[in-house]
Each structure stands twice: as structure tokens, then as C-alpha cells.
Symmetry: C2
């Protein structure tokens, strides 16, 4: 049994963006796991990992942190139901991981950060506000006021993926794999923590997300959301 440390939000929400990559990878490989929700400010709870961020997994004797390293660990230890499809697939997926982290994630954060704030554990209120206001370089209230602008930026950033999904069913081709989970995690983060509709129903990304939510018996659909 694998143990997964991830962020704990109000009313059972699991909102760690990067942990959703790990969750989907575990489901993809049909690996059972036990969730250990922790507050974002509770660094003591994950000090054993040598780092300050989730996700962290413990898998037998191995402790692995960072969603990308966890994916590589799972792929190496459990090669069946591949996440990457080999070395070239792993390499290009790593490139896609970096692109999403540096374009889609920073475009999504200012749009939903004020909504996330309302749904984190009260113990995290001050910690979350201080950290996030530094990252987005404005107050949560300013972020809320600038939502329309943020939505435009997000839509621009997602445009290439919309175009791709008109031509191809999944980010990874004919079937979902880790590249899909990378992008999905950002949309699931929004779905779990924000009441805003970030995708219009006619958006190809909307249909793709619906199919993602259906995977593994509704694994990502049937969770507490905003």
C-alpha cells in the first residue's frame, strides 16, 4: 500500500494541484493508496521527506517527493500500464510538464486564488494569504477584482491545447497517459476549489475534461468540489 501526503482543504477537499498528477498516475497503474491530508502550513508533517511541499509518497522503503519524480518512480517500479510509453515519451512528457507549470499554472492561479483561500483549512489562512500574495504580486482582493483579465489570459494560454484536442482525442494520442494528467491537474485544482466555470461547454477542453472525469470509474469526478 502506497501512502500519499497531499493538501487538506475544507470539507474533505483534496486541492493540491500537483498531488492530482500523482493521484491520476496511481489510478492509471491501478495502485491502491492511502491519503494523508495535511495543512499547507504544517511543514512538520512532511519533514521526513526532506522537503516542504506535497505530494510525497511512501512506497515500501522509498520516500519520494515532487510529482514528476513520483511519476518516474512509479513508472520504473510498476512498468505495466505505462505512463510515458518509453524514453522518448518520458522526455517529451517532461517537456510538456515544464511548459504547463510555467504557462498554464501561472495563468490559472490569479483567476482562482481568492476562491481557494475561502476553501483552505482555517489554520492555513494567514500562511496561504502571505505566500500567494507574493506569488501573484497582488492582494487576494485585487486578484478577485481582476478576474476577467485573468480569464482572458488563461484562455489565451489554453488555446494551443484546444486546437490540439480538435485533432486528437487525448494529449497523449489515442489514450490518456501522464501528459493528460499534467494538464488535467490544473483544471481539477480549479474544479475542486473554485465555483467559476473556467471552461465553456463548447470548448474542446471541456469534453476532454469530462472524459478525464469518467476515467477509472469516476475517480476524479466523485470527490468534494466547490
Amino acid at each position: 500500500m502506497i501512502t500519499l501526503w497531499e493538501l487538506q482543504g475544507k470539507e474533505g477537499r483534496r486541492y493540491s494541484l500537483f498531488s492530482w498528477r500523482t493521484r491520476m498516475a496511481l489510478a492509471h497503474k491501478e495502485l491502491k493508496f492511502e491519503s494523508r491530508p495535511v495543512c499547507m502550513s504544517d511543514k512538520a508533517a512532511i519533514a521526513f521527506s526532506g522537503g516542504k511541499t506535497v505530494p510525497v509518497i511512501r512506497d515500501g522503503d522509498a520516500t519520494v517527493r515532487d510529482s514528476w519524480k513520483i511519476a518516474e518512480h512509479l513508472e520504473a517500479k510498476y512498468p505495466e500500464r505505462t505512463l510515458f510509453g518509453g524514453e522518448i515519451g518520458r522526455g517529451v512528457t517532461h517537456t510538456f510538464n515544464t511548459l504547463v507549470d510555467r504557462t498554464v499554472v501561472p495563468a490559472m492561479l490569479p483567476l482562482i486564488v481568492a476562491d481557494i483561500y475561502e476553501r483552505v483549512e482555517p489554520a492555513d489562512d494567514a500562511y496561504f494569504r502571505e505566500m500567494m500574495e507574493k506569488i501573484v504580486r497582488m492582494t487576494l482582493e485585487e486578484a478577485r477584482a481582476k478576474r476577467e483579465e485573468s480569464m482572458k489570459r488563461l484562455t489565451r494560454t489554453l488555446e494551443p491545447m484546444q486546437a490540439l484536442l480538435k485533432r486528437q482525442a487525448w494529449i497523449c494520442g489515442a489514450q490518456p497517459a501522464y501528459g493528460d494528467y499534467i494538464l488535467f491537474s490544473v483544471l481539477q485544482w480549479a474544479r475542486v476549489m473554485s465555483p467559476q466555470q473556467v471552461l465553456e461547454p463548447q470548448d474542446p477542453l471541456h469534453g476532454w475534461r469530462e472524459r478525464m472525469l469518467d476515467l477509472f470509474g469516476g475517480f476524479a469526478r466523485n470527490v468534494p468540489t466547490a
Copy 2:
């Protein structure tokens, strides 16, 4: 022997961005080809392909146009020396192809379009100017005047790839493959047609491009450039 139709610039320059993807794919697979340079305005020369753009290849009985379709054709017909490493690799590489075409290409074009204009065949002058001024939504002279701004946009767009190449040798992981040729084609386009230095020597992309230029016995290095 495969025949490749591609754009002809002044003094032997081969400047078609997308044809460079095909060139690198052919070199990767150690397939010989014969180049058929054509003017951009000479649509009659490639009418047999059913389309109006290069690259086009003829490979035995097959005529294939569009660099992505050509890559798929080569991978299916000549599976050795894989470009994608399997179906997931193919899928994620297609995603990367779409991302580069919709972010990096439009960021590079305004920066170098006036330089390209000076190096196309004189027969293409009017055609090139009219088409490109529509695409970049300014005159070539305005594009030249706005270079500094365009360079900033390009640098922003390339930033995730710079970050990636600090952690990984190639876009495709431990060895170059089609994902590398996708990004490389945009930089080679600039190298062949513009005297501007678009990458600083300390940029991780610079070192990566040097290694790309060394591949296949200097296949992409030893060509007429700006």
C-alpha cells in the same frame, strides 16, 4: 530516393521552417533525399500535392504534404530509428508540435520577417510582403522597428524550454528525436534567414542548438545561412 519540395531563398538558402522538421526527420532515419527548391509564390510547382504549401515529399508512390503528416508517414514506413518512440510519444509530440506552432512560431515571425524578406527570391518579393504583412498585422518596416519588443516576447515564450534544458539534455530526453526537431526548426529558420543573434551564448537553448547543429555530421550546420 525521397524527393522533398521546400522553399528556395537567395544563394542556396533553404528557409522553410516546416521543411527543416522534415529534413531533420529524414537525417534522423538516415534516409537519402533530393531537394526540389521552389519559390513561395510558385503554386503550380506543388499543385500535384493537392496543397499550396511545402514541405511535400514524394516517396515511391506516396505523395505526402504537411510536416506532421510527413513525420507520421516516415515513422510508419521506416520504423527503425524511431522519431516518436511509440504511440504515447507520438501523441505528446503532436501536442508539443501544436504548442510550438501556436506560441514559438508567432513569437519568432515578427522578429525576423523583415530579414527573411531581404533573402527570399526576388520573384517572391511582392507575394511574401503581402502575405506576411497580413499575418503579423503590420508592415515589414514596422516589424523591423519593433524588434526589441518582439525579442522580449520571444524570450518569454522560450523560457519554459530554457528551464527544461537545464534539467534534461534534449526535448525528447536522453537523445534527440522529433520533438527536438520541432523546436529546432524555428531556430534554424532564424539562423538561415536573419543576421540577428536570437539566443545569447549563456542561454541553455544555445548549447542545445549547437548540439543539434552537430548532429548527423553537421547536417544542419553546413548550409547557407544569413
